[in-house]
Symmetry: C2
Subunit: 225 residues, 2 copies
DNA sequence: CGAAAAAAATTGTTCAACAATATCGCATGG
DNA sequence: CCATGCGATATTGTTGAACAATTTTTTTCG
């Protein structure tokens, strides 16, 4: 066969390494539901399908395994991670531990406040379409921005992984509007408190938010059996 | 004193993957000072030296990069990470955020308390030899055990990385006895408070400990110029 | 029908090669 | 003499094939 067209379906910028670009594609397929949790990813088959070598695919696997959305079993292969109730509990515990103090000690003039603002606006817009997956993404961005308030590279990176895992769990659940819609005004309220110079109150509201959201997610998860 | 990696003749630890085994060896070389921060690690040269293929070495690099003790620059290579004052500040901030609440809400009968106990005992023993690097390891184990009190897989794994990075910074510093020795009785005291059912007091002491330790590390770091 | 043995498939690791990118040395010109 | 551009060199990025080690499937025999 002749050389395949050098321009793939969506031209990934060369700033990303090939493995990173493929990883982004696979990540979308996982959070988008094309690849279902528990599914096995055969190296040979996937490498051929993605038109990359097995070695490069293995690098992709390592990237995504580190993010927690794939799981690697020695000599057995790589699988799409299966969110469990335990993992959701753990994720929300970590979120509370990190997000609440981050917000409580925030300076209202921090650059990340703008990110929070934009995330709220975008969620409102996407709600109208409605694009609930987009709303979910904007919501995640809002909380990532909260963690960015800390200016801690390690916390920010860690939280990015946590968010990726949570998205995987969300992908399993139905009725996303019930999961995301009620929280748009809440986020706006939290942001308002912070901008008016009362981060303590904002942090209290965030704690409530997280508890309520956790309950909703666990209920939706339990409905799946 | 020269840790000879020269005799890998039969280090076929079937439990560990080849890459993981090599990674452990490299990790020791980094924390042990054989490989100095900032040093470039040539793929071809190191692969030959370790008697593994470049592909496997690249996997090792990815493992250690994830742990934060190596740094990867695209198309330029892999380097031993260089601890900065900023990274030390960030690490201690994360430590306070995670360790103090972990201890505060601990149940004195938790299995990890035994780990804390053993770590304290081992530190006392190694102090007599004296083996200050060993004391440092025991100290790290003590704090890893504190995080284990949370039963949170994600926090535990995250903290493992943080600890690895901190060890890298310690490797740069001289006079390890000044860095570790004063904290042996402190750890014992913290453990005592916890075992006597006063986790709140233990947490307060831990917070003091971390602030003081941070100051000592930063001072030692500043002395290096 | 069940269990052991053989066969097939998959992952783990290595090797050799080439392309893409960065680094170095050197000649040239001001 | 020094700066600069350019080609030569070295290094990383990626590929494909090969073989060993391990798991999974199939076959065979009791």
């Amino acid at each position: 066969m002749t050389k395949e067209p050098a321009a793939p379906a969506d031209s990934r910028d060369s700033s990303l390494s090939l493995a990173e670009g493929i990883a982004a594609r696979l990540r979308d397929q996982v959070t988008g539901g094309t690849l279902v949790p528990g599914q096995r990813l055969s190296e040979a088959r996937l490498a051929a399908e993605l038109e990359i070598s097995r070695n490069t695919l293995r690098e992709v696997f390592r990237l995504l395994t580190r993010e927690g959305i794939l799981r690697h079993e020695p000599n057995r292969g790589v699988f799409v991670a299966v969110p469990s109730m335990a993992s959701i509990l753990d994720i929300y515990r970590v979120r509370r531990l990190i997000e609440v103090p981050a917000l409580a000690q925030a300076w209202p003039g921090h650059a990340a406040v703008t990110r929070m603002h934009n995330a709220v606006e975008q969620a409102k817009e996407l709600q109208k379409i409605p694009d609930w997956r987009g709303v979910g993404s904007a919501n995640m961005e809002f909380h990532a921005a909260i963690v960015a308030l800390t200016d801690s590279p390690r916390l920010i990176q860690f939280f990015t992984q946590i968010i990726a895992e949570l998205r995987l769990a969300f992908g399993l659940l139905d009725s996303p509007e019930l999961l995301h819609q009620p929280y748009i005004p809440r986020n706006a309220e939290i942001l308002g408190k912070l901008e008016r110079g009362d981060p303590a109150a904002a942090a209290r509201m965030l704690d409530d938010y997280l508890n309520q959201s956790e309950r909703a997610v666990l209920e939706a998860f339990a409905r799946l059996g």
